[in-house]
Symmetry: C2
Subunit: 366 residues, 2 copies
């Protein structure tokens, strides 16, 4: 039990930044992860970390999945930095746990005992681990553990739904920004648009396809890299997309040609594959006056900016902001209502230890 501190904190958590001075918690090298709360903070008793895909892949490659060295690598990072931010990838992940204490000025609306998931990245969340990760075998992104984490006034967290398995809910919440922004962009178009989803059989891709449909897309075209993904995407009923096309997202001529042949060009193109080099194809597949939403963390800013300029493409290009108000609820509602999307998620969860980069996860960078 800790008493609320008397100092007034910053809703951004600036008061927790130890080094370097003056930066935001995400950019900080080290955070204060002490359990005592500032008045607007919340402390969570952590039960599970969900390392982001890029971070887990880096750790796996560096430590060959050896349980002891995987554990000590994660413990070292958290002990040194006061947060689980992989110093190589810069990324973090999410966590689940139970609210242990709520500061008197917290605006988050949480109560002691709530089971929650964080929707802000571990890369900015003060964290301490107390069980030496004894329950983690080092082979999965999902890391059972004991410890505590701190939420700031402006952090985002959501109560875990009781009607969905925790593993499914976590996987959905991890990518919930994508369908929310897709819905907003599609519904703001003056006429019902043609929407292309590159990586439509992945987690963020399938949710975005469902969101585009709900928001009034006239036609949804799903791009996948090979036959197996096409079967996965086409397996549900009713169909998640109107057309399935197989193309390498890194081949601009192939992908734009395939989308055009399937009823494009697209008015809205959503990039959900987590491999570099997809900017040109997405731009070429999009009609003049259209919009490209880049969700993939492998997106290159300069490749997008110069790529559009280089082909005189008058397209609006959006950085896929992972936060849109109501994003968690929207994504959970989609997974409840759409058996095809749910099927894809259950399949992806089974594949946890496989590398699902192409057509897979996107947004592996929380």
């Amino acid at each position: 039990m800790t008493a609320a501190r008397s100092r007034v904190g910053s809703p951004l958590g600036l008061h927790r930044v130890l080094a370097p001075a003056g930066v935001l918690p995400q950019a900080a090298w080290q955070l204060d992860n002490g359990p005592a709360l500032w008045p607007d903070e919340v402390r969570v008793a952590v039960d599970r970390l969900n390392l982001d895909a890029a971070s887990f892949r880096q750790l796996r490659e560096a430590h060959h999945l050896d349980p002891a060295t995987m554990r000590s690598a994660v413990l070292d990072i958290v002990a040194t930095r006061g947060k689980m931010q992989n110093p190589v990838t810069g990324s973090g992940g999410m966590l689940t746990g139970v609210v242990a204490e709520v500061g008197p000025d917290s605006p988050l609306g949480l109560r002691v005992g709530d089971r929650i998931a964080t929707l802000v990245s571990l890369s900015l969340t003060p964290l301490a681990i107390t069980d030496g990760l004894a329950r983690w075998d080092g082979r999965s992104e999902q890391v059972p553990c004991d410890g505590h984490a701190i939420l700031f006034g402006r952090s985002i967290a959501t109560r875990l739904p009781e009607d969905l398995p925790a593993e499914l809910a976590l996987a959905v919440l991890d990518v919930c920004g994508a369908p929310a922004l897709t819905r907003r962009v599609v519904s703001q178009r003056p006429a019902d648009p043609v929407v292309a989803i590159i990586g439509a059989a992945g987690k963020s891709g399938s949710l975005s396809a469902a969101a585009a449909r709900e928001a009034g897309a006239k036609r949804v075209i799903g791009v996948v890299p090979h036959e197996a993904e096409a079967r996965l995407l086409g397996s549900g009923s009713p169909g998640l997309v109107d057309e399935i096309v197989i193309a390498d997202a890194r081949d601009p001529v192939a992908v734009s040609g395939a989308i055009t042949a399937a009823g494009g060009p697209a008015d809205v193109t959503v990039v959900c594959v987590d491999v570099p080099g997809c900017e040109g194809g997405a731009i070429l597949a999009t009609a003049q006056g259209g919009t490209v939403i880049f969700f993939s963390m492998a997106t290159s800013f300069t490749a997008a900016a110069l790529g559009a300029e280089g082909v005189a493409a008058d397209v609006t290009m959006l950085v896929g902001n992972g936060y849109v108000p109501g994003h968690a609820e929207l994504a959970l509602d989609l997974i409840r209502a759409q058996p095809a999307v749910r099927g894809i998620f259950l399949r992806r969860i089974q594949e946890t230890s496989a590398d699902t980069a192409v057509g897979g996860g996107a947004r592996s960078g929380k």
Copy 2:
């Protein structure tokens, strides 16, 4: 004199890609820079290259401004790649010249004898140099030379205006995407917005400030890094901005605090400084529901995406597309009508050999 080739080319210039196969000309390692035209191409007799700032800085640092090695470095790149794309920075620049031959199917509307500047990057433009760069002293981004360049069906070029010095016109055209996109975003807001320009005393920044004003901004706040830039920005009359604030764009708390104190938060924030680490400040300075336009080539996609998510910022983030229809004309009209902007440009041109990164050029990445 060369005859048009009989094969049908691609408006994107795919037929000029020698290696690797299947990529767009910008992503290619090597282009065919032969002078014979495909039917929709245009050949330009080049008289000047304008190396982009990032490329020139890299060459200068590698070769210490030694004229002979600077010359041989550029000649080597062009001879090897068939285009002037710096292999370290990936960027190119622009060129000026006179139209020498127009293919029968060219859609660009150019005539033999037109003096033009290209508005697509040198990084995708087939180029040959024939004079050994004998007239270049290696000390300036502007490289006088003889040679030829090829424009594709979908390239963009503009006639150089006769009422402006060529050096001024080139500098304006180099950044003309920024004011055009700023104008579009400002004029699409439902109510007249507050606009913050980060790097307002630079080339793209000053043009964007003028464009924001013309498009109906209620208030334009210019952010500059120090007193000298503040004096430059405030020197014109009528004032280019309503408020000038001095803040380090890389310090998110300082820059957002300063903008808020000057009448913010901004509904539209335009990032025009070419240094890394400006994403967080721009996001924090922007009101919920607002828009951030990233023009700086130093923008990190992941820093923007995770930065907004990390502070629950519901802001639209745009990749600054360098192409907007009518962008060249708009920018030239602004420089004609706005003495304050013209004054800033003339000052920047005098500083050519100085490093004007902070608050300076932005968009140093054509």
